[in-house]
């Protein structure tokens, strides 16, 4: 079950994709990378927008592709907040 905040966050990210990145994402769980909806240019623009709108700074050295797999995972990444990029324990990685 997702919280109202998380649902709102997903909608904000979906709007970012549609209005700023000009990418129509069929659903919140669509795989953005595997489907090719998000390419290199769109990805870097996404990182800039996430930093601008949500204060999320992504270190390239610790970038986790799974965090950007879908609108759902991006929302979860943002909700996890600062520290979410710290190395995970071996069991999590």
């Amino acid at each position: 079950m997702i919280t109202q905040e998380l649902a709102g966050l997903r909608n904000q990210i979906a709007a970012l994709f549609a209005d700023v990145l000009k990418i129509e994402v069929p659903s919140h769980d669509t795989n953005l990378l595997a489907t090719g909806l998000l390419d290199s240019l769109g990805f870097v623009e996404l990182l800039l927008q996430l930093e601008r709108r949500f204060g999320i700074h992504v270190e390239m050295e610790s970038l986790e592709p799974e965090d950007f797999r879908s609108i759902e995972s991006i929302a979860a990444f943002i909700e996890a907040g600062p520290g979410s990029q710290l190395p995970r324990s071996p069991s999590e990685t």
């Binding site: 090719g36 990805f43 390239m60 592709p65 990685t93």
Partner: protein, 328 residues
């Protein structure tokens, strides 16, 4: 339609008929620019046109704009140049298309065919220019708009914009810089073609400076630890398109008989006297590995198909093999 004998009057803006071969967001940006300027898009040729079930930002935008969408493969078909001539194409533009355009097609448009190449022609012609530039430790790079001729990336240069490569740049970020610098140049080309096509620069390439790269991956894709740290890190940066697929894969080494591909690594500036390839201490999720002159910090590795923090799979005291491709 442009007057075919005299061309447009200076200062007047012709409505061009443009055939666009395009892929990816860069191609979509150029399509949007052409449409905003009111030119006629004869067709958009993109790989997504033949695969309606696969995502394609160029095809989707073309459909929204009401532009005809043709499969990119058609460009190679016999007789396609006649189709281009019949369509009265003024300008053919190639933005990140995957197909080589045959000579007969290149000559079928009135004002010529132009390509956006992510490299500083005449240097870095051919495949993967961004990766080669990073591998070779370049600190500047450029994107070039050139007229296409049958020889790959050899035609006269119309416009070029250069930019710095920063220490933190990867192949991904340099590729994006190429697009960010290249799309305004394509816009300039279209505007000049629409107002005074004779003013499109055509600077012949200096053949003595030409360098051409093919499909090969440097060093056979092997990391060579007995080289300077700069070289080791540059190779990983050259392959770093994370989270996207790298055309070169990632440089590999072997530890205890197991293949480990290094995906992200940075220099430390700390000199070392340990044998090249020696794995030292753990720093957060990274490990330090010895090169010829200094330690490098290996952050992420690919092992057994999984992208993991280096400390998960590499332990202090282990040694990357430096034979069978590991030695210079």
């Amino acid at each position: 339609m442009i007057d075919r004998t005299t061309g447009p009057r200076p200062e007047s803006r012709a409505r061009l008929r443009i055939l666009l071969l395009a892929e990816e967001a860069a191609g979509a940006q150029v399509l949007r620019m052409i449409a905003e300027r009111g030119h006629v898009v004869v067709a958009v040729m993109t790989s997504g046109a033949a695969r309606p079930d696969s995502p394609s930002p160029v095809r989707d935008l073309a459909e929204r704009l009401g532009c005809p969408c043709w499969p990119a493969e058609w460009v190679r078909e016999r007789g396609f140049s006649e189709r281009v001539r019949a369509a009265d194409v003024d300008l053919l533009l190639n933005v990140h298309s995957l197909y080589l355009v045959p000579g007969a097609v290149l000559n079928a448009s009135r004002l010529g065919s132009y390509n956006m190449h992510p490299g500083p022609l005449p240097e870095y012609a051919g495949r993967n220019p961004v990766s080669w530039a990073l591998f070779r430790g370049e600190t500047t790079h450029a994107v070039t708009i050139h007229r296409m001729v049958p020889e790959v990336d050899a035609g006269p240069i119309a416009y070029q914009a250069s930019f710095d490569i920063e220490e933190r740049d990867s192949a991904l970020t340099v590729s994006v810089k190429c697009v960010q610098a290249g799309v305004p140049l394509i816009t300039r080309l279209v505007d000049t073609a629409a107002t005074n096509p004779a003013a499109i620069p055509a600077i012949g390439q200096d053949r003595s400076r030409r360098s051409y790269y093919g499909r090969d991956v440097p060093q056979g894709g092997q990391l060579i630890w007995p080289r300077p740290a700069r070289d080791v890190v540059n190779f990983t940066r050259a392959c770093d398109y994370v989270p996207f697929r790298s055309p070169w894969g990632h440089p590999v080494g072997r530890v205890d008989g197991r293949q480990v591909a290094v995906v992200k690594a940075t220099r430390t500036g700390v000199r070392c006297a340990a044998p090249p390839g020696a794995v030292s201490d753990v720093v957060g999720g990274a490990v330090r590995v010895a090169c010829a002159d200094e330690w490098v910090l290996v952050h992420r590795v690919l092992t057994d198909g999984q992208l993991v923090y280096a400390s998960r799979t590499l332990r202090p005291g282990q040694q990357f093999e430096t034979e069978n491709g590991g030695r210079e």
